[in-house]
Structures are given as structure tokens and as C-alpha cells.
């Protein structure tokens, strides 16, 4: 499925609820769905605020596909400034935090099983979040 929202803060929750509805109907575990919702909201708010500079004329596109093994979400903006994702395992800064900047990217990297940034010359930047449906018996594809 594909959902397109305007770049207005608040609309990310519509994308979150749409993807949560899909994940629930495909039988994903409730705590996994909470991870998906959090990571997706971070990806959407980044796309709205940083990628599209909160310009309501620009769109954020969320594409969600599901197969036997994975739930894959792509969040695409119309910006030209792809984020730099931290590597797994995420190293969290020591408290007290000096800044919350970059925390969304850290959450995405920590919660999704795989996360990649795909710059797209035509449409902008896409962040791809992959969640394994059966984390214990999935063989990681390193290709």
C-alpha cells in the first residue's frame, strides 16, 4: 500500500495508524507494532521537517509492503539532504543529554532490523525500514 501525506506536522500519525492497521491485520506482535509505529513516526517527522522543510506543498510518501518474512516501509521526501544514519548497534549518548538532535535517527536504527537511506535524484530521499516478522529464525541476507 502507498500513502501520501502533506508536509505538516501531525499528519505523521495518520501514516502511523495506517501502517499499524496493516501490521495488525497481518498478525505482527503488538510490541513489534509499537516499534514500527515509533520508527515510522520518526522517519515521517524527519521527512516533513528536514527533507521537505515543512512546506505543505511538498509530499511525504509512505510505501509499505509485507511478505512472509518482512514488513518493509519506505518513507520518501522531496528533499536533497539525506540523513546520515548511525550504525547498529546504536551507541546512546551518556545522560544527561547535551542535545536531542539525531535521536530520531538513532531510534530508527535501533528499532528496525535494517535501515538504509536511498537518495533518489528524481523524487528526493527515501529511508527504508525493514522489520523481520520472525526475528529469531530469519537468516540475514548480506548480499
Amino acid at each position: 500500500m502507498q500513502l501520501t501525506i502533506p508536509s505538516i506536522l501531525g499528519y505523521e500519525v495518520i501514516a502511523r495508524d495506517a501502517v499499524a492497521s496493516l501490521a495488525k491485520r497481518f498478525g505482527l506482535a503488538p510490541e513489534r507494532i509499537e516499534d514500527i509505529k515509533t520508527a515510522l513516526c520518526e522517519a515521517c517527522t524527519n521527512a516533513i521537517e528536514h527533507g521537505n522543510h515543512a512546506d505543505p506543498q511538498r509530499k511525504v510518501r509512505v510505501v509499505c509492503t509485507i511478505d512472509e518474512q518482512h514488513l518493509i516501509i519506505e518513507v520518501c521526501d522531496e528533499g536533497t539532504d539525506p540523513p546520515v544514519l548511525p550504525k547498529k548497534p546504536v551507541e546512546w549518548p551518556i545522560c544527561p543529554y547535551t542535545s536531542f538532535r539525531g535521536r530520531g535517527l538513532m531510534l530508527m536504527a535501533a528499532l528496525a532490523d535494517e535501515v538504509t537511506v536511498v537518495p533518489d535524484a528524481l523524487t528526493g530521499t527515501c529511508v527504508r525500514l525493514i522489520f523481520y516478522r520472525h526475528p529469531t529464525n530469519v537468516v540475514v541476507d548480506v548480499s
Binding site: M1, Q2, L3, T4, I5, P6, I8, G10, Y11, V13, I14, D17, A18, A20, S21, L22, R25, P56
Partner: protein, 152 residues
């Protein structure tokens, strides 16, 4: 959002494969939006039912349940109303005569599938319902629900 310049309308577009079950995604997405717009619970229930019927019709009839064909749901947010349009790719055209049908409960007892109530339900539940052709040539239904704010 600046209503002096007419930019008072926001659009959300949802594209779904024509597979039964995906109407639930449209229902949940529209309900999430309507809740945040401030619609009361019973209007949201009505909206869920109407969208469920519209998307099911698009999947089963318009697109003949061919999963490769898309159903496009457009949710248009205005300050005082929500406009929902549901379009299919028109493998089967909707007979205009069927858009004003008045089903009878006595006939329903004779039918095995209990179908035939979708369009009637949409008209009962929504403030405006209009059947047109989709830009791509498929069937399209446009439904409007007005947001009545409590008077102060």
C-alpha cells in the same frame, strides 16, 4: 495553512491492492483522520461503514479482485468537512441504475450472500454521495461528511 490564499485543504492519498481485507486499512486510516478532525464517535462509525462498503465494491466489482489493480482513496481535509473519494480501475463499470437502488429487506432474505446494501448504506450514512467516472476511466464515488462543531 492560509485560508485567505485558499490553501485550506489538505489531501491524503491511499493506494491499496484489490484484495479483500485491505478495505480495513482504508477504514482505520479514515477513522484516524476523522478522530483528529474532531468528528464524534458515531459519525466515525458511520464513516468506517461507508468507506468499507465503497472500497469493498471497488475491490470486488470495479477491479474484479485482481490484486494488481489499485483502489485509490483520497481523503480531502477541509475545516468544516471531510471529502472521501474511492476510485477503481474500472474492469467492470457500475451500472448507473444501481446507484439509486432501494433494496428491500424481504428480498435480502432470499439472497444467499446478503449483498446489495452497500450503495444504499453509503447514501444513508454520508451527507453527500455522488457517483462519477475516475480520471483514469474507472468508477469513482465521492462522499462528504460535514463537521458540525458544537455551538458555543
Amino acid at each position: 495553512m492560509n485560508d485567505r490564499e485558499g490553501a485550506i485543504e489538505q489531501v491524503i492519498e491511499l493506494r491499496l491492492p484489490s484484495r479483500l481485507g485491505y478495505e480495513r486499512i482504508a477504514m482505520d486510516t479514515a477513522a484516524a483522520l476523522a478522530r483528529r478532525m474532531g468528528f464524534p464517535a458515531e459519525r466515525i462509525d458511520a464513516l468506517r461503514t461507508a468507506i468499507g462498503e465503497a472500497v469493498t465494491n471497488a475491490i470486488e466489482h470495479g477491479n474484479q479482485a485482481d490484486a494488481a489493480m489499485k483502489v485509490v482513496v483520497v481523503l480531502m481535509v477541509r475545516p468544516d468537512e471531510l471529502i472521501i473519494s474511492v476510485a477503481d480501475q474500472g474492469r467492470q463499470a457500475l451500472d448507473p441504475a444501481r446507484t439509486h437502488i432501494q433494496p428491500r429487506i424481504t428480498d435480502a432474505f432470499q439472497r444467499a450472500d446478503k449483498g446489495g446494501w452497500g450503495i444504499w448504506l453509503m447514501r444513508e450514512l454520508m451527507d453527500e454521495v455522488e457517483f462519477t467516472l475516475a480520471p483514469g476511466g474507472g468508477n469513482q464515488v465521492r462522499m462528504v461528511v460535514h463537521l458540525e462543531r458544537p455551538s458555543t
